[in-house]
């Protein structure tokens, strides 16, 4: 009887300790998860800012200006356009 009791005592102590450790693990993982979620948010914000930046750089007005002024591009005149007839499909 005593041995059984001792065994049970040992078991319950082991259980209690494992509970403590798993609880601790859970909290640690949770902190990590929180951290990653914050990262995600920060990346979201950065993505939005990069999108803004991209669309500012790629604004049609800017492309138009760069094409005309820096690259000296111009619309081809009527004599320089050749329309190719044909069935594309």
């Amino acid at each position: 009887m005593t041995r059984l009791n001792l065994l049970l005592l040992a078991l319950s102590i082991a259980c209690a300790l494992s509970l403590v450790s798993s609880r601790h693990q859970a909290r640690k993982l949770f902190v990590e998860l929180e951290h990653e979620q914050k990262q995600t948010q920060a990346y979201d914000v950065e993505f939005g800012q990069l999108q803004l930046e991209q669309s500012t750089w790629a604004a049609p007005g800017r492309i138009d200006k760069v094409a005309r002024e820096q690259l000296r591009m111009q619309l081809p005149g009527p004599g320089r356009i050749q329309v190719i007839e044909g069935n594309l499909r």
Partner: protein
Amino acid sequence: MRRDPSRRSVGEPGLSPLRAAFVFGALLAVFAVLLARSFYLQSIDREFLQEQGSSRYSRDLEIPAHRGRILDRFGEPLAISTPVKAIWAWPDKLEASPLELKTLAATLELDSGTLASKLSEGQDFVYLKKSVAPEIAAQVAALEIKGVHDDDEYRRYYPSGEVLSHVLGFTGDRDVGLEGIELAQQAWLGGAPGSRRVIINRRGEVVEDVASIRAPQEGHDLALSIDSRLQYIAFRELKAAVETNKARGGGLVMLDTKTGEILALANWPSYNPNNRARVARDRMRNRALTDSFEPGSTLKPFTIAAALESGKVRPASVIDTAPGTLTIGNATIHDAHHEGALTVEQVIQKSSNVGAAKIALSLSPETMWETLSGAGFGTPPKTGFPGEVSGRLRAAKTWRPIEQATMAYGHGISVNLVQLARAYTVFANDGELKPVTLFKASGPVAGRPVLKPETARAVRHMLEMVVGPGGTAPKAQVMSYRVAGKTGTAHKLENGIYVNRYVSSFVGFAPASNPRLLIAVMIDEPSAGQYYGGSVAAPCFASVMGAALRLLGVAPDAPNASVILPPETAEIREET
């Protein structure tokens, strides 16, 4: 133990039973108080201690929610919210040396005087600066001035700036829509922040989620029908046209004729929504939707369509417009040029008021009303934009003959520009009126049949003649494409009197063999000498249409034809 009475006599004080009972009673009373208190705390006033306890380890955190983005039809962002900081202070808790205040002012790019006056206004709480970039907020936090704090907030940015400001509108405090699509779609775009309760450890890290108090509601993205490349072209050319003609303003609408989607909607004057501190309210109106005007001759094709539909005339029927005036009652209708006998087709091509009035008077008011109403005049365009007007089309039974005659060439009726563009989809789609929308359509859009296909095609042919030799709008020609359209030059109405100020317009579509794009241009009060729709609005139409067709890669339907412009003096003029 037996007590020795002799010792008592020595004078040692004995414990009187009364005293013992008193002490016992007092101790009991103390216990009773303790018990009662603990009972009170445990069962009656539970919240107090629980709150005190949980305040030491649990926190309610806000879960931020974004406002959705607004995108163009290809997913290009047109409006994005990004977090910024608001710097605020408690003036009475502020502890800062003059030097620290000076650095603070410099970091926030504020005048030291402005900062000082903000702090001495006598309020408990004052915003020092809103919409501060996160990096600058970090610099402010690094100063560690007591009483200065920051808050997260969102700020909306519009990469397209003034190009699309009238359509998008803008948001105000807390990122709530105030104008335009931002206002109309607030429920869809707007996010609601959520909140949750968590357990934190002594380092302030969140270690456990206890409960979600309110789930956050993320705002949804919204795809518009706008094509930002076409929008830019439209805006650039409209602005140029308004400036060269020294006009008060102007509007331009581009529709996809197959789906009724608005591909571009430009207004001038415009404003930059990213920096609108000193912009007059007036500049913010989307005139193409919220203002109506008398369309003038751009309405004539509908009069002709009504007449063709009723069988009263055929395209080749001859109308005598001599001597260029028509008197009804005590009013006289004038033509800007005298033509004599014209076919119905030529009435459109040369934009004869007398011809159109004569044709209109051969119809019953109800017939004409039916065609006009069917083409959407008098009913709001329902684009989903707030504050759009419906224009004015009076009931047919109130029309007097002179009114019916002037309505034939677009006076005594008012429309907004989008409505006018929508009405022309009837001619571009073989008689079907397409519903217009600012939102991206998924799949084919059903129209509503208004005219017989033969009628629509006949009018389309007449509209092509307008652009051709002898028409009012040779400047609307586009290289390699067949174009159909109609000019308008309407006198403005001021205090009930028609004055010599004009609204010049042009509505047209291309390629005429299989229309893809429809553009309506309106220039308000051109004052650089020219005011005919054919010389003010038509060139703007042609440059936008040409660039747009090339950009979309639409196959040319007249690859070998070249643009033929008559000499300036030979230009056919029109009024209304």
